[in-house]
């Protein structure tokens, strides 16, 4: 059981240079992998390919040997770097969470999502508060793989530690495969079982 990128190439169009050239990566269930690279090397692009948001120009993305399902909830969920761009600005946050499953009281508690926030619009919450919704939303959907693209850089260190502790506990419980894109080596050493340079 693994999520795999096989010799993947990507570019936005034929006039543009390659963003990714012949990259391969394998992520097993229950494994936590940290991905390092300088900015602009295509880490986020690879994250979007793995979660099925972009299709590779060449090469393929395989989940347990099959292409990613094109219908239903994707078992690979991507959590973005910028929560303010990943949430529908016209939806109240309660609706954002309910879209991916019924609310679980214990998860709201664990992420420190307060009841009154569910009535609010995204612009009325801070980036750190929004990111908790993004992580909770991905976990509520029943994902098997989580791709975390710099999910905690915009959070204060206490909230970072709180969120990662919840994510790690869930990852352990559900045997999630986890890919963490990060620039922070101290953080990677804390949360991951393996590190890869792109």
């Amino acid at each position: 059981m693994a999520l795999e990128a096989q010799d993947v190439y990507f570019r936005y169009n034929k006039k543009q240079p390659w963003v990714l050239e012949g990259r391969s990566l394998k992520l097993e269930r229950g494994e936590r992998l940290a991905l390092f690279a300088p900015s602009g090397r295509g880490k986020s692009t690879l994250a979007m390919l793995l979660a099925g948001y972009l299709a590779p120009t060449q090469g393929q993305i395989l989940l347990d040997g099959e292409p990613l399902p094109s219908k239903g909830v994707c078992p690979v969920q991507l959590i973005y770097q910028h929560p303010e761009k990943a949430i529908n600005p016209r939806w109240r946050l309660g609706r954002v969470l309910e879209e991916s499953g019924s609310l679980q009281e214990d998860m709201l508690e664990a992420f420190g999502i307060e009841r009154p926030w569910l009535q609010r619009f995204p612009r009325e919450l801070s980036g750190g508060e929004l990111q908790r919704f993004c992580v909770a939303r991905a976990l509520l959907s029943g994902a098997q793989y989580l791709i975390c693209d710099e999910i905690s850089t915009m959070l204060d260190v206490i909230t970072q530690a709180q969120i990662w502790n919840v994510v790690l506990a869930e990852a352990e419980k559900r045997k999630l495969g986890l890919l963490a894109v990060t620039h922070n080596r101290h953080l990677a050493q804390r949360i991951c079982t393996r590190m890869v340079e792109l």
């Binding site: 300088p38 900015s39 620039h183």
Partner: protein, 301 residues
């Protein structure tokens, strides 16, 4: 003399409820901060503690339903809305927090403004290829967009730069380069207000660190105290921040910052504080001088 001085600042938002019901939501209260020329003051603290709102308040770009009380002085003179309008973008520059501040329909080169030569040399120092100028924001990675945003502020001749989380998405060496540039500007006699969550980096470059919690400053201390460790710090929240760093234990304290609508009556940190006493719950502690720093705590040592 202080370049920027903020005294007892409070910011509240008027929220509309059902019908004609209105409530004021106080998001910053009793905030003090001073920035001297030649100094980098880092602002650390919890997400949603009002760090970005402070930046907006200084620049006068808060939304229309915000009310600002207290005193803000720039070069010893009051920052009136007219003066803010005149100064922002020229004397006071902002590195915005969100990469969504870039115009999505404009190539990034023209967006940075300023002379092309200066732009090229800044891009070069940041390791951005020359072709970056010809790209649209959606074609940039998160870290590239950050470096473009920092360039837009550094290209001006501003005396005060307010950098609102300039480093997320940058690799370590790029983040260090950005901070080195800020340090150089400060050494030239300018001043930088650096809002950041990369506090371990900030400790290395800043002169002083102000710690925010729930809309107020709980501690202002020399950056060297943060390098020394929790024993040199004065406020329990600052100590908790230090201990939550991945390299220092990664242990979060329990609980959450109170929501602006339901702030505790006394010390804002009391509900999570291991050292709280009766007095902390009843009264807001005043700012006290302790060992060359300022702390808002009855038990700060």
């Amino acid at each position: 003399m202080n370049l920027l001085e903020i005294q007892d600042l409070s910011v509240s938002f008027r929220m509309y409820g059902r019908g004609l019901e209105q409530t004021d939501l106080q998001v910053i209260s009793g905030l003090h901060l001073a920035v001297r020329p030649g100094e980098i003051v880092a602002i650390a603290g919890s997400s949603g503690s009002g760090k970005s709102l402070l930046a907006s308040a200084i620049l006068g770009i808060l939304p229309g339903n915000a009310a600002v009380y207290g005193q803000m002085l720039y070069k010893g003179e009051e920052l009136t809305p007219q003066r803010q309008q005149r100064l922002r973008g020229s004397e006071i520059a902002l590195v915005p927090q969100s990469v969504a501040y870039l115009d999505p329909l404009m190539k990034v080169g023209p967006q940075t403004g300023g002379p092309a030569e200066k732009r090229r040399s800044l891009f070069k120092r940041f390791g951005l290829p020359t072709q970056t100028e010809q790209l649209y924001p959606f074609q940039l990675s998160g870290g590239m967009a950050r470096r473009v945003l920092v360039s837009t502020a550094l290209i001006t001749d501003a005396k005060l730069i307010i950098a609102d989380e300039p480093t997320p998405g940058m690799s370590l060496d790029q983040a260090l380069e950005a901070l080195r540039l800020f340090r150089e500007m400060a050494d030239e006699g300018k001043a930088v207000l650096l809002i950041t969550h990369d506090i371990d980096l900030a400790f290395e470059f800043a002169d002083r660190v102000a710690v925010f919690y729930a809309g107020t400053t709980v501690e202002t201390a020399p950056a060297s105290d943060f390098k020394t460790g929790p024993e040199a710090l004065r406020h329990p929240y600052s100590k908790a921040l230090w201990r939550a760093l991945p390299q220092n234990g990664f242990t979060p304290i329990e609980g959450f910052q109170p929501y602006a609508g339901s702030l505790p009556k006394g010390c804002l940190f009391a509900p999570r504080c291991p050292y709280k006493t009766e007095q902390c719950i009843k009264e807001v502690p005043p700012v006290q001088e302790v060992r060359g720093g300022e702390v808002r705590c009855y038990h700060g040592t």
